[in-house]
Subunit: 551 residues, 2 copies
Amino acid sequence: METSSLQKERAKYQPMLPKALQSAVSIKEGNPTQSADDHEDIKKLFPNTYGLPIVEFEPTISKETPNFNVGVILSGGQAPGGHNVISGIFDELKKLNPNSRLYGFLMGPGGLVDHNYIEITTELIQNYRNTGGFDLIGSGRTKLEKIDQFEKSLEIIRQLDIKAIVIIGGDDSNTNACVLAEYYAAKKYGVQVIGCPKTIDGDLKNDQIETSFGFDTATKTYSEMIGNIARDCNSARKYWHFIKLMGRSASHIALECALQTHPNICLISEEIKAKDKTLNDVVEYIATIVANRAKEGKNYGVVLVPEGLLEFIPAVYRLIQELSDLLATHGEEYKNLDDLSQKEYITTHLSETNRATFETLPLEVAHQLALERDPHGNVQVSLIETEKLLSVMVEAKLKEWVKTGKYVGKFSTIHHFLGYEGRCAAPSNFDANYCYSLGTTAVQLIANGKTGYMAIVKNTTAPTEEWIAGGVPITMMMNMERRNGEMKPVIRKALVDLQGAPFQTFVLNREKWAKESSYIYPGPIQYWGPKEVCDRTTKTLALEKGSNKNE
Amino acid sequence: METSSLQKERAKYQPMLPKALQSAVSIKEGNPTQSADDHEDIKKLFPNTYGLPIVEFEPTISKETPNFNVGVILSGGQAPGGHNVISGIFDELKKLNPNSRLYGFLMGPGGLVDHNYIEITTELIQNYRNTGGFDLIGSGRTKLEKIDQFEKSLEIIRQLDIKAIVIIGGDDSNTNACVLAEYYAAKKYGVQVIGCPKTIDGDLKNDQIETSFGFDTATKTYSEMIGNIARDCNSARKYWHFIKLMGRSASHIALECALQTHPNICLISEEIKAKDKTLNDVVEYIATIVANRAKEGKNYGVVLVPEGLLEFIPAVYRLIQELSDLLATHGEEYKNLDDLSQKEYITTHLSETNRATFETLPLEVAHQLALERDPHGNVQVSLIETEKLLSVMVEAKLKEWVKTGKYVGKFSTIHHFLGYEGRCAAPSNFDANYCYSLGTTAVQLIANGKTGYMAIVKNTTAPTEEWIAGGVPITMMMNMERRNGEMKPVIRKALVDLQGAPFQTFVLNREKWAKESSYIYPGPIQYWGPKEVCDRTTKTLALEKGSNKNE
């Protein structure tokens, strides 16, 4: 396998571990726990995995451990550090007993159900240490939810003599991990299930999870690019760059990148929803900053847009919902119409308010909304180029303002979408250590007989030595939410907290950033060199931990 | 000024210099030179700056130098390292005589004509050492071509007592530098002009110029992103990523990135033109690779597309030419037609061959070609989303092939354009040293009385100590070419050499890369750490120098 010079050198890096995980480990159990909400419902659904204590590791003297086999699964979107979770699992497993084996199920949870797997060996893992991507075993989005899936999985678990499955995933995947743990516990199959918190989106976060892995590396990679674009913007001084950032259900990425780079404008979906803004409000907000900068001769700037924005604008959300219903119901008769008739069809069938919203949209976007649907008839919001939608609407607004003299200037735009550029970056030192620690933790939870737990590492703004590792019962993070019309137990998604320190810091500074061109250029992630550069934590984490201390 | 931790640490980096520039410098002159071609024409146009010798620096004992002032200009698109050229000029100027002054003309050559400038001071330059961007003094695209511009510039040159102007730019800007040098020499104004070779595109390159600055950093930054995308591609295994790369007039960037990352497909415009390929040929080439991979269950891959591709496809080029003429001539009557009538108008007015080409284009692209024009009526090729055009046409081709059983698979695409993400990256160690050396060289050329020269640093694959610095008369690189209907003296653009080692290496490997998924993940530029990672040169330069040695 031909690799880059960076991969070769980086393969030699030995990730650091918290003190408690450096030698043999004993477990300290806390008090019984409760779910985040809906205690009775969750308790009823998870009789065997509810109310378990939080556990924390402590160093102890070495003891002999019998060998046991583990299966690992990568679930959902890629995040930097996945391979380090696996190498952490591998190393700890072999350290406890060299006869233990690690199996990787291929292309996500489907690999477990369909019995597609490989054994992960010393030679194999070597090429993947401290690398990005999930390509060692691949990932997938199959949901583990049904009893026949659980039973089918059990066959291969038995065949390979697997004691425990580690599922590395986001909120949904960890919820499913807990459902699987509960099922196997109820059936007394003796198979444990452990989850690991992964997502670049940063929305799997709560009192117990300080950050999910990948967020650090992905936001640093996006910030590198945004800084480069901002520097170009500030050198050429003739373009407004509209940059859409991955993160559909929360704006953590956009907020973190804004804190790292100081763009002129950053939209935070959660704020727009909380303030019940319309699309026109958002457009006027941007246009006002453009017009004010133009007054000072600055016909350039940088705008960050979270991918999920449109669904957070209440009026647009309602439109999308009605459109989806409309197209799902009337799909057949609608399908055979030509473009123009389709649009007419839509405008005549929409309710008055939603029609009004529909008619404010630029032609191209209205077209996308009307035509692009997934196989279930749903509007594919992710295909809408929100960054272009906004710039086109801002341009139209500015043209109006020219007539009244409210705006004099030039408005040229360039669009970017940063997503796939960061999900598989080689993990930063932080993510390399964090993920390796999570993998090590997962094995210790298994060795100590735990199931339905998530591997957790805390105190992550301190030096790695001082990190605290342990496990949290997944039920503790759950509440009941409506999903596709049904109440389901789910891990509550962490949206941007409008009272939290990261957002408040942004609010304190954004007017200054809008007016000035005080961009910060973070540059590429560094693996060697000054500590201040290589080991800097995300602004989000630093501010959240800082604010916790002040409470 | 708030800066990032990387900027703070990187500001401390002292760029390295070739041995000859480390202390006092004497000059060694070679034989008289000739232009690249059209000797008589060039000689007639440049009587005062033609035929000068190549010069090379050698160490000597220190001598006192009288103070003199220099003006510097950044011209054209941003390239990593521009600030280091300026800091190289600044440091050498002050080293020779602390009373010398450096003036920066603002926003490109226009700053010289319009007398917009700042003095560059020790405090000011400090914040810009080893940083990306041109924001210290900005850049612009005003062409210095006319006598009244030269005379207007002279006013401020006299006012500030400037001995020499350094113009940092690409082929056109260096041509203009030489025209200015010739004019001032002919008039005996005693003002020297020196050029510096800058462009991320890599097309300012010849026997004398090993590489233009910025190419190293920009291609490493793009390769970082391409590697990340490829790793995502290889993890998710469900998308074909079409990545357009900056570089309109040559494919050096695409080729270099291909050599660094091993994509499944990379198009090289120069090859497509040389083989007289049609758009359909290109589409079939891609579709064949897609279909072959699908046979092995690989419905994913990475395609690199140079920005200028369309203009290199002879049939499309002819279409664009005729369209531009047509729309420029009939602009007025055409303008008032609606979209549909505009298209009709075009198809009825085009010649038969070009109409046939026009009709093979996807709707959206035909629309862009027909509607988007610059103020002169020219079709704006740079606005055409070539990456989407190709993927749409490949999809259509695959749909045909499904009918005949030639293709069975899924084809989902994601599009990227990498350009502004790399032009202002913080310079790699190579570009930091190279640019600093170029700046130092420029000052030595001035101190030694040279004009109409380009600052040159050679032997750049050796350690910096061993680099060879000097100057080359710009006329030596010139020939006559037709530009806008007129024969003009220009520096010959370096296109990808289809016989050269970089392209030949690519050809040797591309079938393997197409079939396998043997991506390389170069990762982000590193400034500290193992030499193999931090100081690696571009593949292009390494292969070109290697092949030179073999000659």
